[in-house]
Every structure is written in structure tokens, then in C-alpha cells.
């Protein structure tokens, strides 16, 4: 009886240790060799690929299920602003850049659980076709809980962590071969509540 209890304890400790360490490792910032970083953005060059390792495949399944491979689409993700601070709905941000070297691109904002943020306007993103550009072809997206004049994505009234995804559909060969060489948009914090 005593021995059975001992082995049951070992099994339970191992179970929670194994699963806990797996969850911790997957949640940890994934900056291994398959991730390329540029400014606040990072991309996994093996997303969707059959060459993905066990950890990358699990991370993509959790936070980017049904991703396309990089020759079709590159997905850049940002959880922080340019200064390295986590993106929060309680703060206002400017996302500034110029057109990206791809057939089509978009910037989308997600809430803490990687789902779209509810808002009356049903506005969650801007893309190559619907963004309003400045006179010098640069664009500026406003991410804020309060309305802005143009290119406004509502961040909602609930304070939570935010995630940005920059999608490049049919990126140019140069971008595919060197994902960190692209001139990606800057994410600039303006003010917080």
C-alpha cells in the first residue's frame, strides 16, 4: 500500500512537472533559430512548413493555426512596441510605415487570446487596398480606444494585452530570402490611461 502510494505520488509530480514545463516552454518567447526578429516584429520562417520542429509546430497551432508557408505568406507578429514594452489596450499607439514588398499586405490587431477585439465599427485591420496614405506614400495606423480621424483600429474598452499581425501575401523573393531585411512598420506608444 505504501509503495503504491509512493509511485502514485511520483506519477502525479511527474505529470504536473511535465505538462507545466511544456506549457512554460511554449509560452516563453520563442526566439530560437527559426524565428527572425526585426524591430518589434518577429516571424517564424518555418510556420506552416513540414520542416517545423515539435515546439514550433505546437506554438503555431496555439497562436497561429492554419498558417501558410513562407513562400505564400509571411506572418510577422508583434507583442511589444518599438521600445520593448508589451502592447496594451490601455495605451494609444501609432503604427507607421510604407508599402511592403508583397502582392498584398495587412496589419491586424488581436486581443489577449488572439481573437479579434469586439467593436461597433467592426474594424480590426488595415491593408494595402483600404489604407489612407500620407502625401509621401507613408501610412499611419492609429490603435486606440478613442476614435481617431483616419486609419483607426479600436483597441476596445477592456484593458488587455494586444497582439499585432502583419501579413505579407506573395512576398517578393527578396523578402522570402531575407525576412529581416524588410522595412517593417514602427510601433510607437503615444500615451496610456
Amino acid at each position: 500500500m505504501k509503495t503504491a502510494l509512493k509511485y502514485l505520488c511520483i506519477l502525479l509530480i511527474a505529470f504536473f512537472l511535465g505538462i507545466g514545463s511544456a506549457v512554460y516552454w511554449l509560452a516563453k518567447s520563442p526566439l530560437d533559430s527559426n524565428w527572425v526578429k526585426k524591430g518589434a516584429w518577429r516571424t517564424n520562417i518555418l510556420a506552416g512548413s513540414e520542416k517545423s520542429g515539435m515546439y514550433d509546430r505546437a506554438r503555431i497551432a496555439i497562436a497561429g493555426l492554419l498558417a501558410l508557408n513562407k513562400s505564400e505568406t509571411l506572418y510577422y507578429i508583434a507583442d511589444n512596441d518599438d521600445s520593448g514594452e508589451p502592447l496594451r489596450a490601455a495605451c494609444d499607439y501609432r503604427i507607421e510605415g510604407k508599402d511592403l514588398d508583397a502582392r498584398w499586405w495587412s496589419v491586424t490587431v488581436y486581443g489577449r487570446t488572439y481573437f479579434l477585439i469586439p467593436n461597433e465599427q467592426k474594424r480590426y485591420s488595415f491593408n494595402r487596398n483600404n489604407i489612407t496614405r500620407d502625401t509621401d506614400d507613408h501610412f499611419r495606423i492609429h490603435l486606440s480606444s478613442k476614435p481617431k480621424e483616419k486609419n483607426w483600429i479600436p483597441s476596445g474598452q477592456k484593458d488587455q494585452k494586444l497582439h499585432l499581425t502583419l501579413r505579407l501575401y506573395n512576398p517578393s523573393l527578396g523578402v522570402v530570402e531575407n525576412p529581416s531585411g524588410s522595412d517593417l512598420p514602427h510601433i510607437i506608444k503615444e500615451q496610456c490611461k
Binding site: 505546437a58 497551432a61 493555426l65 505564400e72 487596398n129 499581425t165 506573395n170
Partner: protein, 177 residues
């Protein structure tokens, strides 16, 4: 070896096994869950195309959907019969057919430009299966008998939603008898 040391080693070995198994099965578990959820919530059956309306915050099935696309989803099972997919080749928007294995791998993708060059029809067969029928289509072998097909139609102009939906609905997926 002391008893406590033996217990510690056994615990660590078991923990490592639990760790590896957890990480390894997460993609398959999530895909199975998403497939089941999609079929249940959309009241659909396997091997049929489900044309989804534009994604908004109140009708999401998977994480990180792109709100600028119209999705057509099909939960496939080619263990018994192959599937024939007919895709549109729109001139003024992006369109793609992507196929995912049960472990989430994107094992095949083709976009509108490639479809226009190489033909609009795709035959999806089970791994190791063969198909002797004739026709002008490319044959794709699925690494797992079950998985998901996802078609993406880009909304290039929000004032032309009817046109975009018309393109989306040109996708047909059917079992080959």
C-alpha cells in the same frame, strides 16, 4: 542508489516523457478540436465546402483569423474516397487553396496565379492510394487521411462584396465516386 535518488530520477524521466508527449500531441489535439467545432457549429459534414461569411469578432472559429479574407473551409477525410476540388481563377483578387494535415502542416498550397497556369482542378488522395481516372487535374497526396482544406478569397474592395462572395462560392469540393 539511495531510495530518494532513485525516486527523483524516475520522476524526472517520467516528467520528460509527459513533457515531450504534451508538446507532440498539441497540434493534433487542436486540429481535431477545431475540425469538430467547425463541423458542429456550422452544422456541416466532412468533405463538403463551407463558405463562411466575412469574419467578425462574434463569429470566430480559429485564432488569429484575417478579417480581410473570405474563408471556405472543408474538414476532409480521404480514407475512403478521394476529393475533387474545383477552384476559381479570379483576375483581380488573391485566391488560394491550402491543405493541412492532422498535425497542422501546410502540405499543399496553390494560389490564383498558379491555378490559372496549371489548371483549376485538384484531386486529393490518401497517402499511398492511387487514382486511375482521367481528367485535367493535379493529384495531391495527403500525408494524413484527415485534415482541413482552407480557401482564402481576398476582399479587395468592400463595395464589391457581392463579387467577392460570388468568387468564393465558385469553390466546389466533392467526393469522387
Amino acid at each position: 542508489m539511495k531510495v530518494w535518488m532513485k525516486s527523483t530520477v524516475i520522476t524526472l524521466i517520467l516528467a520528460a516523457i509527459f513533457h515531450i508527449v504534451t508538446v507532440a500531441i498539441i497540434p493534433d489535439v487542436i486540429m481535431a478540436f477545431v475540425s469538430k467545432k467547425a463541423l458542429h457549429s456550422l452544422k456541416a459534414s466532412v468533405n463538403t465546402a463551407i463558405h463562411r461569411p466575412r469574419i467578425t469578432d462574434d463569429q470566430e472559429t480559429i485564432v488569429m483569423p484575417c478579417p480581410d479574407l473570405l474563408y471556405t473551409i472543408c474538414v476532409y477525410d480521404v480514407s475512403q474516397k478521394p476529393l475533387r476540388i474545383k477552384a476559381p481563377t479570379p483576375k483581380d483578387t488573391y485566391f488560394s487553396v491550402a491543405m493541412y494535415a492532422a498535425n497542422t502542416d501546410n502540405f499543399f498550397v496553390v494560389n490564383d496565379r498558379q491555378l490559372a497556369n496549371d489548371g483549376r482542378e485538384i484531386l486529393l488522395i490518401n497517402k499511398g492510394a492511387s487514382y486511375s481516372g482521367s481528367g485535367n487535374f493535379r493529384v495531391v497526396e495527403a500525408p494524413t487521411s484527415k485534415g482541413i482544406i482552407l480557401c482564402r478569397t481576398l476582399i479587395t474592395d468592400e463595395n464589391r462584396m457581392e463579387d467577392m462572395i460570388r468568387i468564393q462560392h465558385q469553390v466546389t469540393i466533392a467526393e469522387v465516386q
